[in-house]
C-alpha cells in the first residue's frame, strides 16, 4: 500500500488541474517525482511543490495499491480523480469541477462539497460526496447521448440541476434535496432522491428508474398510468412503503419509471 498525502501550502486563484495526479499515473512515483512535477495552471505549468507538500509512504505494485489524501482548500483544484481506474482518493475539503469525471474504478471520497460535473461520464467505481454538489452531476459530455454508464455516486447533501443527465447506467443516490430536471434524457440506470425535488424530474426520460422519497413540487404531463404500489422492487432494490408509480416520459415514447412517495405527495393522488 502506498499512501500519498498532499498538504496544501498555497492557494492558486487560477484552478490547478489534477488530471495527471491519479493512481494510474503516479503509483510508481517517489517523492522526488512529485517535486519535479509541474502542474497545469491556466496556459502554463508551475511546480507542484509551490502549492502542495507531498509525502509518500510505502510502495505500490499497481494503481489499486494507492491511496491519495489531499488536504487543504481544494475549491480551486479541478479534475481530482478524473479518469482513474483504481485506488482511492480522499479529498478533505470541498473540490472544484470534474471531480471523478470519466472514472472507471476505485473510490473517491469528498469530505465537502463538489462543484459541477462531479462523476461526469463515470463508467465504474464509487464517488462519495459528503456535502452538496452542483449541476450536471453524473451527466454526459455535452452533446453525447451516452452519459454515466456505471458505478455509483453517493451525495450526502443536495444536488443541483440536471442530475444524471442522459444517464445510461449506474446508480446515483442523493440524501438531500434535488433541483430541477433530475434524470433528464436518461435511458437506463437508477436515481434515488431522499429529499425534496423541485420541478420536472425525468424530463424526456426513455428508461431507467427515479425514486423520490421526499416531496415533489411539479410533475410533467408526459408521465402517465399512475398506480399505487407497495414495497416495490426497483432495479434490484427493495423499497419500503407506498409509492405512486408513473411511466414516462410519454412525450418521447419513454418507458422509464418514476416512483413518488405516496405519503408525502398526497396532492398527486
Amino acid at each position: 500500500m502506498k499512501i500519498v498525502t498532499f498538504n496544501q501550502k498555497e492557494i492558486s486563484q487560477i484552478g490547478l488541474e489534477f488530471d495527471e495526479l491519479i493512481p494510474d499515473k503516479i503509483y510508481q512515483w517517489e517523492k522526488k517525482d512529485f517535486e519535479k512535477y509541474e502542474v497545469p495552471i491556466g496556459n502554463s505549468r508551475f511546480p507542484l511543490r509551490d502549492y502542495f507538500d507531498v509525502d509518500v509512504e510505502g510502495s505500490a505494485e499497481s494503481p489499486a495499491d494507492v491511496k491519495i489524501i489531499i488536504n487543504g482548500d481544494l475549491t480551486r483544484v479541478k479534475y481530482i480523480g478524473s479518469a482513474m481506474s483504481a485506488g482511492e482518493i480522499v479529498a478533505n475539503s470541498s473540490v472544484d469541477l470534474h471531480c471523478g469525471s470519466e472514472m472507471s474504478g476505485g473510490e473517491i471520497i469528498v469530505n465537502g462539497d463538489a462543484e459541477s460535473y462531479a462523476g461526469r461520464e463515470m463508467t465504474g467505481g464509487l464517488l462519495t460526496i459528503k456535502g452538496n454538489t452542483r449541476e450536471f452531476c453524473g451527466a454526459s459530455y455535452i452533446g453525447d447521448w451516452r452519459g454515466m454508464t456505471g458505478g455509483t455516486i453517493m451525495i450526502h447533501g443536495n444536488a443541483g440541476k440536471q442530475l444524471g443527465e442522459c444517464l445510461t447506467g449506474g446508480e446515483i443516490y442523493v440524501r438531500g434535496d434535488c433541483d430541477i430536471l433530475a434524470g433528464i434524457h436518461m435511458t437506463k440506470g437508477y436515481i434515488q432522491i431522499d429529499g425534496d425535488v423541485t420541478r420536472w424530474p425525468g424530463g424526456q426520460m426513455q428508461g431507467g428508474s427515479i425514486v423520490i422519497n421526499g416531496k415533489l413540487s411539479r410533475l410533467l404531463e408526459g408521465f402517465i398510468d399512475s398506480e399505487i404500489v407497495k414495497n416495490p422492487e426497483v432495479s434490484g432494490k427493495q423499497l419500503a412503503g407506498k409509492y405512486i408509480k408513473y411511466t414516462g416520459d410519454i412525450a418521447r415514447n419513454g418507458k422509464g419509471n418514476l416512483y413518488l412517495d405516496a405519503e408525502k405527495n398526497r396532492n398527486f393522488l
Binding site: I14, G42, N43, H98, I142, G203, L220, E221
Partner: protein, 470 residues
Amino acid sequence: MGYEEPITDYDYKVDNCTCAFCGCNCDDLVYLVKGGEVKGEIKDGVVVSGYIDGGHVIGVRHACRLGASKVMEDMDQRLLVPMIRDEKGNLVETDWDTALDKAAELIANAVRPVFYGWSETSIETMHYGLELGELVGAVLDNQATICHGPSLQAVQNAGYPVMTLGECKNRADMIVYTGNNAMNSHPRHLGRYSTFPRGYFRKRGRFDRTLVTMDPRYTDTAKMSDIWVGFEQNGDYEFYNAMRAVLRGKKLEKDIISGIPKEDIEELVEEMKKVQFGALFFGLGLTHTLSKQRNIDIAINLVQDLNKFSKWNLIPMRGHFNVNGFNIFMAMEQGFPYGVDFARGYPRYMNGETNTIDLLTREEPDVFLVIAADPGAHFPSGANRHLANIPVIQIDIHWGPSTELADIVLPGSFIAVEAAGTSYRMDGVPIYMKKAISRPKTTRDDEWIVNELLKRVQKIKGIKPTVAGK
C-alpha cells in the same frame, strides 16, 4: 416620433450594403453619403465599386430604426485615438505603437487570458484572433455565452432542423415566434423574411400565413399575431412537454398546463399538424428562463415530432450580426462553437468551466481582451467586479461602459460601413459586407489591430510569424 423630411442633400449612393446590427443582416441597404471623394467607379450617382474617401453616411434607406441609427454616424461617442489608463486612473491619449506594445506584453505574459467578443467584427479579424489565442493558450468566447449559448447546448443534445430564411418566405404558412419579440428586436424580420413578404408559394404574403406568438408577455409581435399563447413565466418546458404528449396522442390530464387550458393546447397542436410548412423562431425568452437549454431542447424535439405530420423548421433569433459567424468560424477551425479554452495546447469546450462569465466570477482571468462587445453593459456585476481588477484591453468603435473598465483602448473601424468583411446571418448564409466610406484617419481596421497584436506577441515569444489561418 414626428414626420421626418426625406434626406435629399446627399452626394452619392451605395447600394446593397449590409446592415451590421442584428442577425437579420439585411443586405438591401442604401447608404446616402455626403462629401468625400470616390475611390472607385461611380455610375449615375451610385458608387458601384470602391468607397468614398472622407464621406459621411447621412441617411440609410430600407433599414429599420435600429439599423439606421447604428449605421449613421454618432461621432460624439466614437473612440478615435488609442488610449492607456495612467496611474491616476484616467484614460490618456497615446500613439499606436505604445498602446499595441503594452497590450501585446500583457497578453504574452498572461496565465489565464480571455479573448471575448467578436460578434460585431468580421470573420477575417477572427482568423488573427484565433491564431493569437492558440499561440498564448487563451480562452476564446463570444456573446453566445450570455445569449444563445443555451440554444447551442440544446442543439448539441437534440439536433438542429434549420432552414434559410428564404424557405420561410417562399413556403411557410405558419410562423411561430416564441420567447422573442421580433417587432422590437429584429424589426425587419417579419417584413423581409417571415410573415409579410410574398413568396413563391405564398403569393398573397401575410394573408396566406398564420402568425402565432408564444410568450408570457403580450408583446408588439403578439399584438399582430393571429394566435397568442401566453403561457406562464418559467412554464415553457412543461408547456412544450404537454404539446409533445398531445402529439403522441395522449389525452391531457390536468385542466390547465403552464397557464394554458388543455383544450387550447390540443387545438393548437392540431393546427400545427395541419399546416404545409411551419417555421419556428425562438429567442432569449426561451434560453434564459428556468429550464434554460432544456426549453430549446424540447422545442427542437417538438419540431422533429411535427415533421412526421408536415414540414417544420426552426431558426434561433440571433442578436448581433455576426454572433452566428463566430460560432461557425470556431466550429470549422477547431470543432467547438464558443467558450473554447486553448490553455493545454488543444481546444477544450466545457460549459460552466470555459465560458467567460464562469471564469470571471471565479476570478480566474488575469488579462481580458474585449473586441466588439460591451461586457460593461451586459455582464453581471460579479463578473464586472473582476474586470475592474484586471487589465482590460478594449477594441471597439464606441465609448461605452466597457471603456470605463478598460486599461488600453484601441479604436477600431465599423465593419460594413468603414471596413469590408464576412458575416454569417442567423440562418448561416454568409455575406461579404462591403466598405462604403473610409474610416477616421486616426483609427485602424480591426483586422489590422488584431494582426498587429499577434505579430508583437510572436516577437515577444521569439516565434517567427507564420501565415495566418488564410
